[in-house]
């Protein structure tokens, strides 16, 4: 079967930059495809279900810090608008503030809906690859969709295996 015939199902897809940069995780019948795309080329990494040992999701502070900075900026702009009403200064500054504050608030709401930032890794016997998923909601979706497929390929974890893992192999 050629690559053209393999149907890939999107699990997570994110915009990674201003110039048509995209990254995401797609699902095939027997493997995961990690896509890293710029405007004019795509790079792939494949992880077969039989090789996946673990999926780790670790929350990071980047999203929280970014949201706080945006909130501070929005508050500063609101204060400047309020001060501007008391002492009108510049129409351009006022227009800029009125345009920027809703955008900042909209971006914060979208970030909050995504559940914060995280690092998601897939571990195999020979590698630990960071996945192109940076928000908790996407990582949860990845685990929910991929976990059962990996278990179907490898079989479920038996109680003996869980005991072995808890004892540190």
């Amino acid at each position: 079967m050629s690559e053209q015939d393999i149907p890939y199902r999107k699990i997570v897809s994110e915009c990674a930059g201003p110039f048509l940069n995209r990254r995401g995780v797609y699902l095939a019948e027997d493997h995961l495809l990690c896509l890293y795309s710029t405007a004019f080329s795509e790079n792939y990494r494949r992880f077969y279900f039989r090789d996946i040992q673990a999926i780790q999701v670790c929350r990071t502070l980047g999203g929280f810090v970014g949201s706080m900075l945006l909130l501070i900026l929005a508050v500063v702009l609101c204060l400047s608008l309020w001060a501007n009403e008391l002492n009108p200064m510049d129409g351009v500054v006022e227009a800029l503030a009125w345009g920027v504050v809703p955008l900042l608030l909209a971006y914060m709401i979208v970030s909050l809906r995504k559940g914060g930032s995280c690092v998601c890794r897939v571990q195999t016997a020979v590698s630990s690859q960071v996945m192109p998923v940076t928000n908790v909601r996407g990582a949860r979706r990845l685990v929910e969709v991929v976990g059962p497929l990996v278990e179907a390929a490898q079989g479920p974890l038996t109680p003996e295996m869980k005991m072995q893992l808890s004892l540190g192999k």
Partner: protein, 158 residues
Amino acid sequence: MCSCGQRWMLSVFPAMLTPYAMSPSGERVVMDDQASCFYHSSKKAVIPCDHCGRFLCSLCDMDLDGVHLCPKCLEDPSNWKRIDQLQNQRALLDNVAIALCLTPLVLTAVAGMGLAIKRWQRPDSILDLGNGRKVLAIAIGLVQLAAGGWLLFHLRGS
């Protein structure tokens, strides 16, 4: 919660406990009339390369979902196109084509609008025909930029 304070989630699968499989090292040639590996003359050939036909021992056999290649053929990038699992990069020539079509649109729009704005105060014709054509140039430039932006937005969406 980890001892370092970070919150994390871990999903573990049985492959974590699977022992690392030793790859076959190849059987030695026992009799003189046995075919030997092209790269290891003392090892028995088990399969030919699907690309070049050289005999390979089990150590040299690179099995990619049923396609058997020797190390030399696997190294050659010209063979990677034939094997789906080795395709790790592709050029998006459709985006290149669209960029080639859009770039003149944006460049001419910016140049035309810049020129019209720069020459706004100075009449070009001795007859002083007004700024109507400059307004038209700016309007056309804005339409070009809007069209380019709309196409770019749809590219991102697709």
